[in-house]
Amino acid sequence: MTTNLLANLSFYIPEMIVIVTMMSLLFMETAYANNERRRTFVYVTGVIGMLLCLFSLFKNLGVEAQGIFANAVVVDSFSTMMKITMVIGTLGTFYISHKSIDIYDELKSEYLIMAVGVLIGGMLLASSNNMLTLYLGVETLSILSYVMTSLKRRDNLSSEAAIKYALYGGVTAGIMLFGMSHLYGMFGSIQFGPIIEGIKGLESFNVAAVISLLLFFVGIGYKIACFPFHMWSPDVYQGSPVPVTAFFSIVPKIAGIAVVARVTYSFFGTETVNTHIWNSLIALIAALTMTVGNLSALNQKSVKRMLAFSSIGHVGLILMGVLTFGNNGMSAILFYTLIYTFMTLVAFFVTTMVVNRTGSDDAVYFRGLMKTHPILGMSFLIALFSLAGLPPFGGFVAKFNIISSAVGNGLYTLSIVAAINSVISLVYYLKLARSMVFDTADSEETIESYSLASRVYVIGMVIPIIFLGLFWNNIYHLYSSAKLYLN
């Protein structure tokens, strides 16, 4: 058994790298006081750690899907690909945090430590194969998230957001545990395998099973901010420092989506008596999430809040992919999350820059951005059009894949809802785009922190959006070859 566990560790190198990174960051933070030069070391360490992690994740791609650590955790290409996207997202927010004035200078390294900590939770979540690891993942992710929310200590909104987040998080975690305990009571195991067997063995519609799964879903639904558990998200997004908001809309969401997909597919992938009710439920949640998210985004003045609601809309779309997971849905989800990561990074980087100049993320401060800062304006424009799903940008391909997998599975109603939602989302994206391009700027003031590196960064994030919109064959091929470990 011991040797077996040790052998399993070789599949766990990416996670271990992240843990080592976090610990070394902690050491450096205590060893070095506030010093500009030494802070650079912290950043370099963080980036090197993430790159190493990416490298080892790529090496893990070829590993055969299997359960490790007594089946508590799985290694499969689906979770590895999700983790790659998460690491890219984390890496992307490092630079945003470096640039943002929302993260005070003395807390810059703390941001890194906590982001890497959340990443560990997310990675654990994405590959969890029993209730315990799942819960551990959720909590690791959540507790550090609460702290991250309040990083902007001198701001009241930030503290308020943290309290809200923690309260919501605590309640939903409790509900989730309640659901889990019921499942344990019904099927006698915390492992997914026996639970799946148990669900397959049910001969009729089982209220207890569906309700306890529903309670279980509350915890994850809260993490991905789907309707009706989305209420915290706009406040938290608005209150948090911009890099944290960017981070929240990437890593915890992707981790949560990985879990929802895994649970839905492995629990209900094969046709059983309860499949239909669960799928209808997810379909309903997807439709409502999209609609509520996009409708609420229409009249937002704060760009962060608007992006928060729009990301709720995107989660709704991704949930459509969850429904069709076995049939093109998986590659659609993987593609969507990757593109979504790049688009979000661009959007939040530009927001950071504007916040740095004006101290506020109100939409009026984006006026005339195209003229005062053409590269920033152009990048944001591309990100917005891509988010709305316009070709030739990656966002269109992502949306196309999701809708096409839905239509391919006969989910016409949901596809029409998604199509109409695209139009609604275009309304608010265009509103921002038009004030950026058509209006004249209130001031010609330039952004101080906008350096050459910033330009390189933002262009570097835009290139994949365009490239994946035109030449997505190879990456799609890779994604459609992903495997999910089935118990």
Binding site: L390, P392, S415, I416, L426, K431, N473
Partner: protein, 507 residues
Amino acid sequence: MSGLLNWILWTPVVGILAILCIPSKNKNAIRYAALATTAVTFVFTLLLYINFDTSVAGMQPDFLVKVPWIGDFNIFYSLGVDGISMPMTILTGLLFFLCILSSWTVDKSVKAYFALLLMLESTVFGVFFALDFFLFYVYWEVMLLPMFFLIGIWGGENREYAAVKFFLYTFFGSIIMLIGIIALYYSVDGVDAFNILAHQGGKYIGKTVSIFGTEWAFNKIFFWAMFLGFAIKVPVFPFHTWLPHAHVQAPTAVSVILAGVLLKMGTYGFLRIAFPIFPQAAVDYSTIIAVLGVISVLYGAFCAMAQNDVKKLVAYSSVSHMGFVMMGMAAMTTQGMNGAVLQMFNHGTSTAMMFLMIGVIYERSHHRWIVRPDGTKGYGGLAKHMPTYTVIFIIGMFASLGLPGLSGFISEALIFLGIYERFTTITVIAVMGLLIGAAYLLWMYKRMFFGEPSEEVLSYSDMNIREIAYMLPLCAAVIIFGIYPSPILDIMRASVGKLVELMAQFQ
């Protein structure tokens, strides 16, 4: 010659790259670069016309291009041209060339303006050439981006509203169309799943699909999905409300392109996609299409009559004239279809003339009022003061009015010939539309050109050489094709005949 379509499609893109390399201060260099690009593109379209084999019905085999793009989805970069897209190709090449000439006076962000115009040109060609659904959709949507900025940045006082409205309307139609495209994709297995031609021929009769818990006939529901996408673009009566705003606010060149080419993309979509793929549904609903067409004709004409803004007047006349195209298509007879395609071409030239002429006078007056909102006279007495302008305006106006001897007459006559047997009542009503058309145009003419010129009008100069230069080709086109339409009719005959034959099988 086989790569000619690629040359036409990508020359404007090369032009964009060249323009982006020129420093923005060097405005004239940018203008000449754009002019050269469109000139070369136009020459390519003429080469295509010369090498066009009129005896081939359907796609010209010499010009087909097919390269795998996204292998896993069976998406191809596949281009082709036939008798329906050929007239549109020449029209596009010509109008963009003239539009660059007419845009010489644009002085605001010249570089971006010409780059966007060239981008628009490339995407319009893409729509007319694409034989792959995915490629078609990408071009159809990408076209919105340059249009959005061209209207929104260089437009009139209410430009932002117009740009957003245009964008949202078209996007709504096309995303519904996208669902139809994907549904078609799943109806065919293998490499032809996105091939537009492979879907043609009424394969989906009897197939059903479940939406909102109800069973629907596949060919009917998706015919309407496509219909919505194309009808918004045309625009057909209930979906036309974006058009007056977009036209009035857009700068002259963009109005010309919008009326001259972009509206035709809608009717082209019917002829290339909606009709051949869902022939049964098209035949079953042809009455509805004809009725919507005739409503567009009358409604557009009445609206035009009520306008005091001359650009809005011409914009509504476009709605009216595109209604004739819809009627011609709904007839599904040889004359009707030929008339529809010819009308697409002729309306392109005559309406382009009208918008260009309005652009000319607008540059002098900076308003477009026939009668100002406060009741005072806007234009008036132009005939005495600007003789050259008057002559060219008359030619354009009579072409769009449908005077025998000018191009508009032939296509409208063909449409009426084609539709009379099937929809007699509708024909009779639609002829009234011609009458109203004559009324509003002549009334407009009377108010603008006759009477004594005011102080303001006397300060206008007559057309200069450049302006005459870009009007002459259009004048020539409306006169030549009014007397001798065969050059256009010949290239479309075989392809249109094939489509009519297909539709006849389902009647």
